[in-house]
Symmetry: C2
Subunit: 163 residues, 2 copies
DNA sequence: CCTGATATTTAAGTCTACTTAATAATAAAT
DNA sequence: ATTTATTATTAAGTAGACTTAAATATCAGG
């Protein structure tokens, strides 16, 4: 299939490294803040979505909406998330981050970033250029994939409005 | 600091995308197998380490060794991990993956890989070359960082023999 | 207006992941 | 040889994250 140096293998190897390192920082931060992975998952999703309901969070995390509701309760209690009635459909709620919640997300990203800072500092200027070009390319391609397969998956129930 | 296109920003953006996508596959796989994140963390660590004790797992995951011991219990019960006495220090145990455990790790990696396959398929040959070069560079640099800061962190209690 | 689908919550109960404290066995040191 | 430190386990108890099932409120269609 490819006589070209195998991108997939390299992507994979790179991923393993990234996971190992950035997860460590992240797990530690998660301990510090007392938030679970799922809770961070929820915060991140609310952060990157425009409109987001309770069920959406559940779907994204692969749990029931009851579970999502309960977890969101705790986040609301901690003042990280706001849960207001959806004016267009009064059955539903719209979730958003409070300022405190937003800060938490930013710091979560930072916590994972530590290792990347060290890494990027170890690069020469010419190396930086090579890598920047490649990453820009990857990001662009990845985003295209993101929007392409709309409706391709029969499981879409409408939960995807959150992505 | 850099007039060069900012590698760190790109790394960051790339990371966010990777996380979002590969985590989804991973969470789903985690559900299927009934293993928690922590359990996978333990499996992965045992996989990548030569010699690994109970406390090491705890340290890596940021929990007490009691917690690690209990969690490993469940993994042993499920036939994923073997726990044998360390012949060189009979207080300790040495952890290793069973064949079943190894398979689980491989499949876990596969579960995260789905998205990357699609991504790599969307690249032209010339793009693949650019990206392969850059990734190879990144991986190499990352590995150097990995081994460099030995003893730099005052918190090292010996737990790091697992990495 | 009545019916059925949807969005969220509450309730009850299970299981996992943690914690600290106590125990047991071994190693290392004086 | 005795003390001190390390490694792993067990015990008891807490809290989070799930689940299913039932309750509420609202929407959308005949």
């Amino acid at each position: 299939m490819s006589q070209i140096p195998d991108v997939l293998d390299l992507l994979q190897e790179w991923m393993q490294l990234v996971m190992k390192h950035s997860m460590h920082g992240f797990i530690r931060y998660s301990k510090d803040t007392g938030l679970s992975m799922s809770q961070f998952g929820a915060l991140f999703q609310i952060h990157r979505s425009k409109i987001c309901g309770v069920t959406d969070i559940g779907a994204d995390l692969g749990v029931s909406s009851a579970a999502a509701s309960q977890m969101l309760d705790r986040l609301v209690q901690q003042g990280l998330v706001e849960r207001i009635e959806d004016p267009e459909d009064r059955r539903g709620k719209r979730l958003s981050l409070t300022e405190k919640g937003m800060k938490m997300v930013q710091e979560g990203i930072y916590a994972r970033q530590e290792w990347m800072k060290t890494l990027s500092a170890s690069l020469s200027d010419s190396e930086k250029e090579i890598i920047s070009t490649a990453l820009a390319l990857l990001v662009e391609k990845a985003k295209n994939i993101n929007s392409a397969p709309r409706g391709a998956n029969p499981h879409e129930t409408g939960a995807n409005r959150c992505l």
